[in-house]
Assembly symmetry: C2
Homo-oligomer: 203 residues x 2
Amino acid sequence: METATCTAPKGRPREFCVDEALGQALRVFWSKGYEGASLTDLTDAMGITRPSLYAAFGNKEALFRKALDLYEREKLCYMSLALDAPTARAVAERLLRGALEMQTSDFEPRGCLRVISSVACGVEAESIRDEVIARRKSSSDALIKRFEKAEAAGELPEHMNAEALSGYLIALLQGLALQAGAGASREELERLVETSLTVWPTK
Amino acid sequence: METATCTAPKGRPREFCVDEALGQALRVFWSKGYEGASLTDLTDAMGITRPSLYAAFGNKEALFRKALDLYEREKLCYMSLALDAPTARAVAERLLRGALEMQTSDFEPRGCLRVISSVACGVEAESIRDEVIARRKSSSDALIKRFEKAEAAGELPEHMNAEALSGYLIALLQGLALQAGAGASREELERLVETSLTVWPTK
DNA sequence: GCGATTATGTACCGATCATTATGGAAACAG
DNA sequence: CTGTTTCCATAATGATCGGTACATAATCGC
């Protein structure tokens, strides 16, 4: 009865690495968006056939969700880590610099998969869009919670609350991702981060 | 030889108003994006048939360009007007409040057509994407020019140049549009604008 | 009245979309 | 070996995509 937990490979073994294929699928979704990525694009990049894709991942939408999980786990990990910084300003700095580092990698697509997947789209992608927006909301809530701690610690200046500061910082991060996706140079993005940090309100 | 300028309607007259139909097409592109808007969506909203659409506007891409022209002419006019404000801060305030007003209209789609159309997409929309990015660059250049004037007037604080400030402000506007498109409430957007103005760097 | 011209409505085109039925190949247990 | 299970490859599914042929209807100058 314990066969469920042990790896008993019955039948013909799979000829490709699921994680590797998922990574390639992520890159395609990342650079083309959910609707812009066709199954041909995906299978070509993943090096597998359509039936293999469906057998291993379910369908296009399930594949996207798994790719989004991978993206958040591997590429967005700096966001939760940033919340551990000692001050609100340090949190903002880690978020901005983390985003900058990700957006200026030479080996990954530009732009943010979350941003890309949350803009207007056809009907087929609406559930995807809703889910991405929901996931972003939970990130936003975490940031608000962190800034509320800073607020309680008296870090925030007058007439500035946690929610307002959080929304403001997220807008900057979204703008950064958008400009990166539109082909902004590394210098432009660095300048944006530096300007944001210069302007950052401290008590 | 002057017949080119006069309106000589030869043949069967058109049964719909081109401008009105274009306005409806704009709303569809605005809420679904270029690729997300199918010809069926467009003709349904415009109240015309496919051949009428092609006869009047050329094809989907040409229709989008005309809709984009209309959008920039009618919905983005506040942007060029904002540049006439007396100070850099006043320019920023007009831009932020103008964007807020547009994003909180009860009768128009949320989000910004330019932002929507400049994110990642399939191959068919790449030329659209490139054009939108180019148009945004010219807006950005105009803003930089305006801030250079402010810089020359000594309005900008130390370690802050026109390009940096422009990129920063545009990032905020993009974040505003993105959050509006994702369903942010009017209060959230107002708070974002107020926070941005509170934080705005003055000498 | 008459062509000439242009718009409209129907019905269709080939291409591509996501998805899958089918048949054979490769591993297992017996 | 046989049977079972799972994977791979080919090729097809119906639906939808953007774009059009075609015939008809409405207005022109004459």
